[in-house]
Each structure stands twice: as structure tokens, then as C-alpha cells.
Symmetry: C2
Subunit: 150 residues, 2 copies
DNA sequence: CCGTATCCATTCCGATACTG
DNA sequence: CAGTATCGGAATGGATACGG
């Protein structure tokens, strides 16, 4: 990631830059796992089921991007573990958006999936696109203003 | 996409399924462009700057996934163009999440980027993760309940 | 436990040429 | 205009062996 660089026309598009940073097959799943409390290399490897060299590469890139950081292990062991930075933690919204879309469109009626719940209420977390007044905004209600259009 | 299949442990995770469907380098950018009103093959190719064969493959997969569909060209020409299905249009929230994160974390202070505005108010669109009462929920306030944990 | 080094297979991508 | 066919190179992924 980050090595390819966004195409010329996409230099000003935040979507393109984000995809360039975390738009591969593993980065978002790693972030998801760390958000879920999986911090150790071996746990990540076991849970994701990918080869160690690939995991090591992705983790290094995520650290380089300032999304993860290495911190002393919480259990007091001699090792380090991976934690989200502030920037990484804010990928929460991206994970939630992916999750909600998948829940709605990639599961059959009778098929069960994991749920993202608020800890206190134990009710599902919601995601809303709104205007400044808090009213819902759909794709049809919005447009992209380019930089050149001031 | 969709050919690799989610790993065994991830079968119940909507995030993993979504990444498996649209988690490559081009699909989300194609969806972004179609959301922005770019519907024709040649326009997509020019705007994204990718080879025609790759674009053709991606478009075919997105159609197979029920995210895009071919419809008669709006300008009355003999050709067809690509339009979002309902399922595809709902990727709007994913695009907004990617955009917002990119705006905040991948642009310097003095660097300009395109903006996503509500048409009527011309104010930036907002994204909120909330509980059922509409109160903000952060990553620390939420947890994933697995299917096995009923 | 947490990686790195190596090797190989597969996939992905870009450029080009071609077709209806 | 909207693709398909082909080819070569690059990136990615997986398995295994090894080291601090």
C-alpha cells in the first residue's frame, strides 16, 4: 500500500487516498481484529488464517502509516503487541460501514452473522449519513465539489 | 473478488464478506465514480486511468454481484451504461466513511481536497455512529457478539 | 513467541492490438 | 463506443525453514 500512489486525477479525492492506504485484502481485517481486542501477532495470525510473512508485512505497513503502533504487552510478558493509534481507531466508522452493508446485502434471511452492539445497552450500533441538522442524507441528496470548483 | 472466499473463521463476519466482495483496488473507486454520475465505460476508463481489460473485468464482477447493472444509455445512444442497483447505492455509506477518514488523516492542513456536500444546503455531509437513541458511539463503546454467543 | 528469509505459484495489472 | 484477446512484468500470497 501507499507504494502505488493515487492516479493523477485522483490526487484530490480522499476516497482514493484511503483506498490506497487500506484498500487491500488484509489491512481492514487486521484493523477489525485489533478493534475486537486481538493484539498479539500469533492471535492475529490464527484468527485471520494468513501466512506469517504476509501478516508481518501488513503490520509493518500499518505501523508505517500510523494506524497501528507497537506497545508493551498488557500481560507483562517480554513481548510487544499491536495497538491502534488515534488515526487507526477512527477507522471504526469504516469498519462499521462495511459491516452494516454486509449484514444487509450478503446474508440470507435465515443466515446468522455476528453483531456489533453497544456495550451498555447491548443494542446494535447504527450508522447515519446526515446533513448539519442531523437529517438523513442519501446518495441522491449529495454531490462532490471539486477543489477547482471552489 | 468473491473467488477467494472468506476464511473459515470469518464466515459469520459481515466485514469479511464485504471486503471479499469490494475489497480490491478498483471496485470502490468505480462505485464512487458511478455515484458521482459517471456511467459510461469510456468515461470510467478515462477518469480512473486503468486499462480497458481490467475495467471490463471489474465491471463484470460488479454486475455479477448485483452492485451495478447495465441500462440503456440516458442520452438515447445505441449503447448501454452502468447504473447502481439498490444494493450498490447503499455502498454510499462506505464511500462516505472512506472519504471522511481520508479527509481527516491523509491531507495536510494546507492541502485541499474535494468535498461531499448536501445539494440543498451546500454544507458537508456528516457521518455518525450512534446507539438506538442517536447518541454517539465510539470504538470503545462497542463490542462484537459472535453468533455462538447468541 | 515473534518474526525474517527464501522459494514458488497465483493473481493482478498495464500496454497493445484487434473486433463488432 | 465498448469491449475482447494476448502477452509480459509486477505484486501478492502461501509454505516452509530458520533465528533472536
Amino acid at each position: 500500500m501507499g507504494t502505488r500512489g493515487v492516479s493523477h486525477r485522483d490526487a484530490e479525492c480522499p476516497v482514493a487516498r484511503t483506498v490506497d492506504v487500506i484498500g487491500d485484502r488484509w489491512s481492514l481485517l487486521i484493523v477489525r481484529d485489533v478493534l475486537d481486542g486481538i493484539h498479539r501477532f500469533s492471535e492475529l495470525q490464527r484468527n485471520l488464517g494468513l501466512a506469517k510473512n504476509i501478516l508481518a508485512t501488513r503490520l509493518r505497513e500499518l505501523v508505517n502509516q500510523g494506524i497501528l503502533e507497537l506497545v508493551p504487552a498488557a500481560d507483562g510478558s517480554a513481548y510487544q503487541e499491536y495497538a491502534l493509534t488515534g488515526r487507526g481507531r477512527e477507522l471504526f466508522t469504516v469498519i462499521v460501514a462495511l459491516r452494516k452493508w454486509g449484514e444487509h446485502h450478503l446474508f440470507a434471511e435465515d443466515e446468522r452473522h455476528s453483531d456489533l452492539l453497544e456495550i451498555t445497552s447491548r443494542q446494535p450500533v447504527e450508522l447515519h449519513v446526515t446533513n448539519a441538522a442531523g437529517q438523513p442524507v442519501t446518495a441522491e441528496d449529495a454531490f462532490v465539489r471539486k477543489v477547482s470548483e471552489g
